[in-house]
């Protein structure tokens, strides 16, 4: 009998030139719960997807039960007893729980639903799940759907379970219940990997913790020897100096006052919970947080794209005129004369039209200008040429469909357009995601220029080093709540790291 359920040796995976995983070696002991810890983009999910057959490693070996294996498809993974519960559930909405659980399994061609239900029910009772097998998935809460996924894997005889951020969508009570189930499964001899960002959960549930940072393996510790402090340090690493300029704010004036903003996400779960903060002209306010902590809803609510309750009061820094933005759509915000620019996270799905060239994209928010039924052509074309020259957009022609351009060039077009609208408030979501170093610095520079001009900039980011060098103040979101607002010049990295993973508790 091998000691390890899984052993990874020197696994690497590249997407284009970007190394998502670089030479990672990792072990999962039989009958243990291993927590995989790391910031966004540290390569946890990519690594696990190579175990579940979604990706194929470029380098390295995988051993299951001491035997080297090749996993090319989800089917291979099932055959090896590996079951992964993805963040986005792969369930058929109109099927019942029981139908989803047996879907794709071999067996007699006529399904005896009663027998199946009895079988599965036995499994459910053994682990103490709460699940009605005859309920349709579309009627279920997120936690029930997750239960279906877990039961599905167990019913297929998975001995190794991988859960990708299972608690991100659960309430504290549901999380407690999930953990008690996981402990029972462990007692039953299952080996479990759980991906999470939440330190208290890691300390609560796991036997050992493995930490990844920026696609590399940092180390593994026994949970009993670890503290929140030590794990945070391993996760965020030493503060790295990036030499991003940060001019002192001048002429700081109130621009945006958000009070008790509460929003639901598309599943009806509270995404933002009574968020309050202020943003000032002439400064960059950073927003840090684990992905999905409510950043998207926060920016979209301000931009008029997300319904919610509370107050979003915009103050024109020059005239002092105040306008309430809550309950307005983008067009009416614009018509009120509030000049607000927004660089959304989903560049081609929201901010731009990938099939159009640069001029077409320049006019997305301005095409209505003028009374004539025809589009104004010259302005957008001139603007395209200017942005192409000023920001160094590489494109064969300004009319070339921007979908075909690289991510960096697409982002330059989007940021360039939003800045060109001479906003009072500029919001950016993950403005440098997927961009190379030079383009990233170019974007930082643009944001600083805006700051100097007296624009209030809100920068949602994921790289703490960048946030700490670029922003004047950093608001930290955790689970839709503000867990702290710190000074970008004086805050310590592990302090922010703790705020990102702790709800409610006061941070030092």
């Amino acid at each position: 009998m091998a000691e390890y359920a899984i052993e990874l040796r020197g696994i690497s995976k590249y997407f284009g030139k970007v190394a998502a995983n670089e030479d990672i070696s990792l072990t999962l002991k039989k009958g243990e719960i291993l927590a995989l810890l790391g910031e966004n983009g540290s390569g946890k999910t990519t690594l696990m997807n190579m175990l579940s057959g979604i990706y194929f490693p470029d380098k390295g070996q995988i051993f299951i039960d001491g035997r080297e294996v090749v996993i090319r498809s989800p089917k291979d993974a099932y055959a090896l007893g590996i079951g992964m519960i993805h963040q986005h559930f792969k369930l058929i909405e109109v099927f019942t729980a029981a139908e989803n659980i047996i879907l794709g399994m071999d067996g007699r061609s006529m399904i005896d639903m009663k027998a199946v239900t009895k079988d599965v029910q036995a499994l459910i009772d053994r682990y103490g799940f709460h699940l009605d097998l005859n309920r349709k998935v579309y009627d279920m809460s997120v936690s029930e759907k997750q239960t279906v996924e877990i039961v599905k894997m167990l019913y297929r005889g998975a001995g190794i379970l991988i859960l990708d951020e299972p608690t991100a969508v659960l309430t504290p009570q549901e999380t407690d219940h999930l953990f008690s189930v996981l402990r029972k499964m462990k007692a039953d001899g299952k080996s479990i990997i759980i991906i999470t960002h939440k330190l208290h959960e890691v300390l609560d549930i796991s036997d050992r913790v493995s930490i990844l940072r920026k696609g590399r393996y940092i180390g593994t510790v026994d949970t009993k020897d670890a503290t929140g402090q030590s794990l945070t340090e391993m996760m965020v690493g030493e503060k790295m100096s990036l030499d991003i300029e940060r001019p002192e704010p001048e002429n700081r004036k109130l621009c945006l006052e958000v009070r008790n903003l509460t929003c639901l996400d598309e599943y009806g779960i509270t995404a933002l919970d009574r968020v309050s903060f202020t943003a000032y002209s002439g400064e960059i306010l950073g927003i840090a947080g684990i992905a999905g902590s409510g950043q998207k809803q926060l920016l979209e609510a301000i931009a008029g794209l997300q319904a919610g309750t509370g107050s979003i009061l915009f103050t024109d820094p020059e005239t002092g005129r105040k306008e309430e933005l809550m309950g307005r759509d983008p067009l009416s915000i614009k018509r009120m004369g509030v000049s607000l620019a927004f660089v959304p996270e989903d560049r081609l799905g929201m901010g731009l039209d990938g099939n159009m060239g640069m001029p077409g994209n320049m006019m997305i928010r301005t095409y209505r200008n003028g009374k004539a039924p025809l589009l104004e052509q010259k302005g957008p074309r001139d603007l395209s040429l200017r942005i192409k020259a000023d920001l160094g957009v590489v494109t064969p022609d300004i009319n070339y469909p921007i979908r075909r351009l690289s991510g960096g060039n697409i982002q330059k077009i989007l940021v360039g357009r939003e800045i060109a609208s001479a906003p009072k408030l500029l919001m950016t979501a993950y403005a440098v995601r997927g961009l190379d170093i030079n383009t990233s610095y170019a974007i930082y520079h643009l944001l600083n220029e805006q700051k100097k001009k007296g624009v209030a900039v809100i920068y949602v980011g994921e790289d703490l080093d960048v946030l700490m060098e670029l922003c004047d103040r950093i608001l930290v979101l955790c689970d839709g709540k503000v867990s702290g607002i710190v000074d970008g010049r004086t805050a310590a990295k592990d302090q922010i790291g703790r705020l990102m993973t702790t709800v409610g508790e006061a941070a030092s």
Binding site: Y55, V70, D329, L348, G351, R368, P373, L375
Partner: protein, 370 residues
């Protein structure tokens, strides 16, 4: 557990040259297959057959003009469905919208042909045919915009309601009792007919130059509308992504209704062209499946009106030519639909080779699931 020997990968960049040669190759192969088909049923030299095909399509002035006339009708319907289509609204109810426009045109010709002054008559026919087509399209449009009712199936059903209404009038207005057909309306007076001798000095005594001019104007209008107007811009954004439309502050429902209305109105107008400018009667087969063919033409043209002209011409040319072959060899005239089908299959299939490439397993291993 081997890697599949060939995988399909989306192309990042598509060169113009590739776009052209793939399509030209598809058309050539389809012509080859058509030749084989024709040879199989006629047993005569394919070269001869293609010669009589050309002869059938453009062999005489009259034949050329009917090829042009049919091209213009197909082009007009294609133009009509395009704005809705570009917005991802599958208006396959062109057939019904054409008939709606055609019936009302026929009604005006019949009842007011002799009593109204010609300009007023034409004004009434045009306005009412556009309105009829518009209504026929907006009904499914309203349900789509507000309740997301499947528009493909709804517009499809609307076709048959229009067809039955046409059948109803075919009997109400029938020329001879029991014949079930209306016959040529105003055969003697020709009132309400689009003139077939417009600019006869230039185009010959018998021509469809007015149809030609009207539809070409429509083509240019549609080109400008889609590319250079605010409406066209909104259509493109709504078709691309609803989120982007919201971001841009576009009222999606309003754009859907307005665009569907335009689409239906032009279909209705085509009904007017068919009745007043071509058949001078109406029957359940007046639209002749053009509402469906137009969808294909519009799709294959990638919404480019000039490409639609080319493809419409090509299809009509082949169809009319095939009809000629069929009559020469005493075969059924549906031969033209068979040929049209074969050509369409090849052009539709060829799109794959424009958008995707095949990667063979030994050639690279690195890009796996990127």
């Amino acid at each position: 557990m081997k890697e599949p020997w060939v995988r399909v990968v989306k192309r990042d960049e598509i060169s113009l040259a590739r776009k052209i040669w793939v399509r030209v190759a598809a058309i050539l192969i389809s012509l080859l297959v058509c030749a084989f088909f024709i040879y199989a049923v006629t047993r005569s030299d394919p070269a001869d057959v293609y010669r009589s095909l050309v002869d059938g399509a453009v062999g005489s002035s009259r034949r050329s003009w009917s090829t042009i006339r049919d091209t213009m009708i197909l082009l007009a319907v294609s133009l009509a469905v395009t704005p809705a289509f570009k917005m991802r609204f599958w208006n396959i109810g062109g057939e019904g919208q054409i008939l709606a426009g055609g019936i009302i045109t026929a009604a005006f010709m019949r009842y007011c042909g002799d009593s109204m002054p010609t300009p007023l008559l034409f004004l009434c026919m045009i306005v009412s045919s556009c309105l009829a087509g518009l209504i026929w399209a907006v009904i499914p449009g309203i349900f789509k915009a507000h309740w997301n009712t499947n528009e493909t199936l709804f517009t499809l059903m609307m076709n048959y309601i229009a067809i039955q209404i046409t059948a109803f009038f075919s009997i109400v207005w029938e020329a001879k009792k029991g014949s079930g057909t209306i016959g040529i309306i105003n055969q003697k007076t020709k009132s309400g007919w689009i003139s077939t001798s417009f600019l006869s000095g230039l185009f010959g005594k018998f021509n469809y130059s007015l149809n030609l001019i009207i539809v070409l104007a429509l083509m240019i209008f549609m080109y400008i509308y889609l590319k250079y107007t605010k409406h066209g811009y909104e259509i493109a954004i709504v078709g691309e992504s609803e989120n982007t439309a919201r971001y841009a502050g576009i009222n999606v429902k309003k754009v859907i209704l307005r665009t569907v209305a335009l689409s239906g109105a032009i279909c209705g107008f085509t009904g007017f062209l068919l009745v007043s400018g071509s058949s001078h009667t109406i029957s359940t087969s007046t639209a002749g499946g053009r509402g469906f063919t137009a969808i294909i033409v519009s799709w294959l043209s990638k919404f480019n009106p000039f490409m639609m002209l080319l493809i419409s011409f090509f299809l009509v040319f082949m169809g009319n030519g095939a009809t000629q072959i069929a009559s020469e060899f005493k075969l059924n005239e549906s031969a033209s639909e068979v040929i049209e089908g074969i050509i369409l299959f090849f052009i539709i299939g060829s799109e794959f080779f424009v958008n995707y490439k095949l990667v063979f397993s030994h050639s690279n291993k690195k890009e796996e699931a990127a």
